[in-house]
């Protein structure tokens, strides 16, 4: 009997002594912050994950169309989402889920960049050369700058986060920085990135147009210097000069090829897609039934005013590259309030491929920078050089040079450049920012004549100074008591 008891107690003891090991488990299908950033391949993966925000943050997938083209005079809202109609009608409430989505997605992208910057200096792996370590830092600085530029344009001064959060005990309720402070941070990051990045990574276009390069840094720096309060036009021109001298050899190409060939010579930086599970769902939301293979009303419809703008310049090439007309069974309240009307569709992306298109999206392209150069030259009083740059853009789409009237004064040329940008960059996510930069957004939206055929009346957009910026998302205000709302 005693041996039996002994055996049993022994059994119990075995299970007791092993219990701490028994509950000490490690994740199988995931890594952790303690072991996820040790090697060269791991830090590369963290950087790839940072680029991935261009695919997963909906603003960069297609909502730039909503907040730049639909919000402005370029497009109407379509589809079935009341929130997008609110954007079209400039009635954006702080509880709108989309602005919260963009705010949080873009800050998530910034957090990834911060993490790369924090971890890359700690990697101790001979597979990571110092040259590559510098490039990784440069890429992360660039990406952080790109995202803060998006945020400051959408929301104004935002909290500046430049280090990763590692514990919930740290202070997370950051107040907003000023617009100036955000721009200072962007320019600081771009300075650092410019010193660390190469002109090209070799011969593969999907890398040279996919990863940050000096070309991307200078293009972004030029745009930032033009957009910031009290623009620095000399800096704009200096950055574009460096860009034009880049070994990457950026060139204006045939306009119609701009939207059929990914990673072409005009491209500086693009969101990369392959289709399938590396697919772009944006095109399906805009393309007509004959291409998309489905028959629902698409989310953005080119406006009457937009089509008139193309027609007023007889701009057939860019119009045909940007817009496709098709007869539809649904009712469009601006183009014909009855079924069977022929209406325009956004056509810069050409392939829908079942919500998984292989069409890339431009983040920066040289054509934009040529017009920006014209803008800077004009602002600095060098009108004739400015006209030359505008004509480069016009001549490639077989439009005549600007008329004398259009270049007769700085103000006239301003108007011409703004219109040229509208036609050149339609649906590429520039229009609202352009109108704001030119200080014409209030007048443009309030002078806009768009007839709602259901009522026969012109839509009252009721644009005000307060509506230039989006409201800070209410969901974020609820999370952070130190955050303040924009004037509503």
């Amino acid at each position: 009997m005693k041996t039996k008891i002994f055996l049993i107690v022994a059994c119990l003891m075995i299970s007791i002594t092993s219990c701490n090991d028994f509950i000490d488990l490690e994740p199988i299908s995931e890594e952790t912050t303690a072991n996820g950033y040790d090697s060269a391949r791991q830090i590369e993966a963290a950087l790839v994950g940072t680029y991935e925000s261009f695919q997963s943050a909906e603003y960069y997938v297609w909502d730039f169309v909503v907040y730049q083209d639909i919000r402005s005079d370029n497009c109407y809202a379509g589809g079935d989402n009341p929130e997008i109609f609110q954007v079209d009608l400039l009635d954006i409430s702080p509880t709108q889920s989309r602005i919260y989505t963009h705010w949080s997605n873009i800050y998530n992208a910034i957090a990834k960049a911060n993490l790369v910057l924090d971890k890359v200096v700690l990697v101790n792996d001979i597979a990571l050369t110092e040259e590559r370590r510098d490039q990784i830092m440069g890429e992360a600085y660039f990406l952080r700058a790109y995202h803060y530029f998006t945020l400051v344009k959408l929301f104004g001064g935002v909290p500046l986060v430049t280090e990763p959060l590692t514990s919930p005990e740290e202070e997370v309720n950051l107040p907003r920085s000023s617009v100036q402070e955000v721009y200072d941070q962007i320019l600081l990051d771009l300075d650092l990135a410019g010193a660390l990045l190469p002109d090209t990574y070799g011969n593969d276009a999907s890398v040279n147009k996919g990863r940050a390069t000096t070309g991307a840094v200078n293009a972004l720096a030029a745009k930032v210097n033009a957009q910031k309060p009290s623009p620095d036009y000399n800096a704009v021109l200096e950055h574009i000069d460096v860009l034009e001298g880049s070994a990457a050899n950026y060139q204006l190409i045939n306009y119609s090829q701009l939207f059929s060939a990914n990673n072409n010579a005009e491209s500086i930086l693009e969101v990369q897609y392959l289709g399938s599970n590396e697919g772009n769902f944006g095109p399906q939301l805009l393309l007509p039934p004959s291409i998309s293979g489905d028959a629902w009303r698409k989310f953005a419809t080119p406006s009457v005013d937009m089509v008139n703008a193309f027609d007023s310049e007889n701009d057939e090439i860019r119009k045909n590259a940007s817009i496709l007309f098709e007869s539809v069974q649904w009712v469009d309240e601006y183009w014909g309030n009855s079924p069977g009307t022929t209406i325009p569709f956004g056509y810069k992306w050409k392939n829908a491929s079942g919500f998984a298109s292989a069409d890339n999206t431009y983040l920066l392209r040289y054509g934009d920078l040529v017009l920006l150069k014209a803008e800077a030259l004009n602002e600095l009083g060098q009108l004739s050089q400015a006209v030359t740059e505008v004509n480069r853009i016009r001549n490639r789409v077989q439009l005549p040079n600007l008329t004398n009237e259009q270049s007769s004064s700085q103000e006239a040329l301003r108007t011409a450049i703004l219109k040229e940008r509208r036609l050149e960059l339609f649906l590429e996510g520039h229009r609202w920012d352009d109108l704001v930069r030119y200080d014409r957004v209030i007048q443009t939206m309030n002078n806009l004549e768009e007839i709602d055929l259901r009522t026969g009346n012109s839509v009252n957009y009721n644009m005000t100074e307060q509506k230039i910026l989006l409201p800070i998302p209410q969901q974020e205000l609820d999370r952070n008591p130190n955050l303040t709302q924009n004037p509503l």
């Binding site: 299970s15 007791i16 701490n20 509950i23 000490d24 994740p27 199988i28 299908s29 995931e30 890594e31 952790t32 912050t33 303690a34 950033y37 993966a45 950087l47 790839v48 994950g49 940072t50 680029y51 991935e52 809202a77 079935d80 009341p82 929130e83 609110q86 009635d91 509880t95 709108q96 889920s97 989309r98 998530n108 957090a111 990834k112 911060n114 993490l115 909290p159 959060l165 590692t166 919930p168 997370v172 309720n173 996919g210 990863r211 990369q272 392959l274 399938s276 590396e278 399906q284 293979g293 629902w296 009303r297 649904w330 009712v331 009855s338 829908a352 079942g354 259901r454 009522t455 509503l488």
Partner: protein, 761 residues
């Protein structure tokens, strides 16, 4: 704690006892909601400015009639049990098949069970419990609007003027928007979940010496589930855009438990002592894989192999483990003074190395007053026991590695023409994460009177939950949406009464009544001084549920509806200063309802007359508010959705006095989450009524049976409620225990009729 519980049935007679049960039934929704007819819909669309070739839309389809059906069900169960001197066995098998009350929903289950106990010697017994279940179901898409394929809201908001199919065989859509009719969701998407589950254990019990017993138990739970879906490439818009889509997900959960316990029993005079110590180890292993292909040549093959495009293929694994030390002491004196003390230590892999262990004591005391001398001679009181208890229990039901900062793969991005591996920080590390603890104090008594004809039980409790495991929202500037933390505390207080009476206890006629009622109050005591908003409502209308200190859990949140301005037809609201406004700001939102009932009750009556039994169970809830968010979809009038019949009372011309605002395209100002959509969720319902007939003994004897019973049951036969939706017993956010009382096209409770037979041999 995922402890395996197997209800133990075992043989009781040496002659094998055979039972057979079967029923057939039908279930249906008990209510439909009136919606606009074709002409009324056309009027509304015209008001919104829509026009179309109305003459081409001449169908008259009642979508609720298409969606709701009489769901048939059948059930069979059989068992054999018995025992010999050293063996005790129970074997059963069963089969159930059900169609749901909503088109296409279905469920099928077959199972068997074997329980076997065998004595090896006078001191050693072994046993096993084995159960196998094969399960299949087809679910319907609910809690979604028609935009997202929600079937119930689809039935309400699809206009009657379209038929089911287009001439080419595809599903029709709303005339103004490509929202397909609800049959596209029920019939256009093939989907099925099936699982097989093997649950079993073996144990050995040994008496080491008199009073000391050792038990070792090993149990497993193997659950293997497969979800298949196929969207054909022709009939739905989404299917044709994708060229068809087939998904196959498998998930396997393997669980085992290993228990060792020593129990000691000792009786000395009137002292009774029972002591237990033990250890328990439990482990889960989860394995998932999924595959998705697109681009199908036909609808002939629905499995992923027929899709030309491999869209997704992935597999993941995970684990969790618990280990526990148990101890328990029971002491009683003369069955009058009762004491139980428990102490357990639980370790969980869900917490970090410094916080894995939680220690949980509990005590209870009982005093059987009726055994005392001063009550011994009382005829009226048969039993009277006063109870009190205090204890702490722990909760570790969080994600498997919640304390770690998880770096997740899958953030891939293409360079060089191929997807490159990318990672992202998925969760924020929190090494301080620890067990959530609930401390409960309860007192109560049991009283039996008049030859046990009347029994009365009262329980009162206070439960304080501290170190609440809660997903704390973070400012998203941090890069994270939330972090799991031990924050704050909750309090639940309540009292429950239960009363049973044998009103008429004669042999030919008897009547028994049971009544129970419970009052519970809960309160968020502390969540770090903040408030948390939950449950966003479609269309950018903000969240509808709030967690706030000093308020009940799940309080409903929104604007105060003021009424409709007769001049403009716009809704106005009452702001935080008590002023009317058409444009309230987010700060004007407040608590607009409490989804927790004042009380909840159940009332049962059993009547027996000779061989007839009638059982009636009435259930009710009083004082709970519901947010009928379904009405936000069906009364919002912001687009081409069909609407509830109530909107014929909408404002149309200046001067109209009504409480339904005007139709206004794309404008949610008239349909904000507000008191307008808060309704009283109180109800009383005949939850169950069963009439059964037991065959008389002489016929039973003639048939050489033990018993034979026929019965008919009705569930949810009759409901009294002011709630205007399909059913008041709903929760659209059922997966979230801090959100309740919201209805958003939620699958309702159904009315069921069942006829059955039950026999033993």
């Amino acid at each position: 704690m995922g402890v395996v519980l197997i209800t133990t049935k075992s043989g009781t007679t040496s002659k094998p006892r055979v039972t057979f049960d079967s029923y057939m039934g039908v279930s249906q929704v008990w209510k439909t909601l009136p919606v606009l007819n074709g002409e009324q819909y056309r009027d509304l669309m015209t008001e919104l400015g829509y026009s179309t070739d109305w003459d081409s839309f001449n169908a008259r389809t009642d979508w609720q009639d298409k969606i709701f059906q009489n769901g048939l069900s059948e059930n069979y169960q059989a068992s054999v049990s018995g025992k010999t001197e050293s063996t005790n066995y129970y074997i059963s098998a069963g089969y159930t098949a059900q169609e749901g009350a909503v088109r296409s929903s279905a469920l099928e289950r077959s199972n068997f069970k074997i329980n076997l106990d065998q004595k090896i010697s006078d001191n050693i017994k072994i046993g096993t419990r084995i159960a196998y279940t094969q399960y299949t179901d087809v679910d319907v898409n609910d809690n979604n609007n028609v935009n997202a394929g929600g079937v119930l809201l689809g039935a309400l908001t699809t206009p009657s003027i379209i038929g089911i199919f287009n001439p080419d065989g595809s599903f029709t859509s709303n005339p103004f928007q490509n929202w397909e009719n609800p049959l596209a969701s029920t019939d256009g998407l093939e989907r099925e979940f099936s699982s097989s589950r093997f649950l079993g254990n073996v144990f050995l019990e040994a008496n080491i010496f008199k009073g000391l017993k050792y038990k070792i138990n090993y149990g497993i739970d193997e659950n293997y589930g497969i979800f298949d879906s196929f969207l054909d490439p022709f009939r739905t818009g989404f299917g044709s855009a994708l060229g068809g889509q087939s998904i196959n997900n498998t998930n396997k959960t393997s669980y085992y438990i290993f228990e060792n316990t020593l129990t000691y029993n000792k009786t000395v005079n009137k002292h009774l002592i029972e002591a237990l110590v033990g250890t328990v180890g439990q482990k889960f292993r989860f394995e998932n894989s999924s595959i998705e292909t697109r681009n199908f040549g036909s609808d002939g093959v629905s499995t992923p192999n027929a899709g030309a495009e491999l869209f997704n293929a992935s597999a993941t694994k995970s684990e969790r483990a618990n280990t526990s030390f148990l101890s328990r002491l029971n002491y009683s004196f003369d069955d009058t003074y009762l004491l139980t003390a428990n102490f357990r230590a639980d370790g969980s892999s869900a917490f970090g190395p410094d916080n894995r262990w939680g220690y949980f004591p509990s005590f209870s005391l009982g005093w059987r007053v009726s055994n005392e001398a001063f009550l011994e001679n009382t005829e009226v009181i048969n039993d009277f026991k006063i109870r009190a208890g205090w204890g702490v229990v722990g909760n570790d039901q969080i994600n498997n590695f919640a304390y770690l900062g998880i770096v997740s793969p899958g953030a891939n991005y293409p360079f060089l023409g191929a997807s490159q591996p990318g990672t992202f920080p998925a969760t924020l590390q929190n090494l301080t994460l620890r067990w959530e603890e609930s401390e409960q104090t309860n007192v109560g008594f049991d009283l039996q009177l008049f030859d046990n004809k009347i029994s009365f039980t009262v329980d009162a409790y206070i439960k304080n939950t501290r170190d609440l495991l809660f997903q704390t929202p973070l400012p998203t500037t941090s890069g994270f949406e939330n972090v799991l933390q031990n924050v704050g505390s909750l309090r639940n207080r309540g009292i429950e009464f239960s009363f049973n009476s044998a009103n008429i206890p004669t042999d030919t006629f008897s009547w028994n009544t049971g009544f129970n009622i419970s009052f519970n109050r809960n309160e968020v005591v502390d969540i770090l001084g903040q408030q948390r908003l939950l449950a966003p409502i479609a269309g950018g209308r903000g969240e509808a549920s709030i967690l706030k200190e000093g308020e009940p859990l799940g309080s409903l949140f929104g604007y105060i509806f003021g009424g409709v301005d007769p001049a403009t037809g716009n809704a106005f609201y009452i702001d935080r200063n008590g002023e009317s406004t058409f444009n309230p700001t987010e700060e004007d939102r407040t608590i607009i309802g409490d989804p927790n009932p004042d009380f909840f009750f159940g009332f049962t009556n059993t009547f027996t007359y000779k061989n007839l039994d009638l059982f009636v169970f009435i259930q009710g809830s009083y004082g709970n508010d519901l947010l009928n968010a379904t009405r936000i979809e069906t009364e919002g009038m912001i687009g081409p959705k069909n609407q509830s019949l109530d909107v014929i009372n909408r404002w149309r011309t200046p001067g109209d006095i009504t409480d339904i605002p005007r139709a206004s395209f794309g404008n949610i100002d008239n349909s904000r989450v507000s008191t307008r959509f808060i309704e009283d969720g109180s109800y009383i319902r005949f939850k169950t009524v069963t009439l059964s007939y037991n065959l008389p003994q002489k016929w039973i004897d003639f048939l050489k049976m033990n018993s034979l019973k026929f019965y008919a049951t009705g569930e949810n036969l009759f409901t009294i409620t002011d709630y205007s939706g399909f059913d008041p017993e709903v929760n659209a956010f059922g997966g979230n225990n801090t959100v309740q009382g919201i209805d958003f096209g939620t699958y309702p409770q159904t009315r069921n009729l069942i006829m059955g037979v039950s026999a033993t041999f």
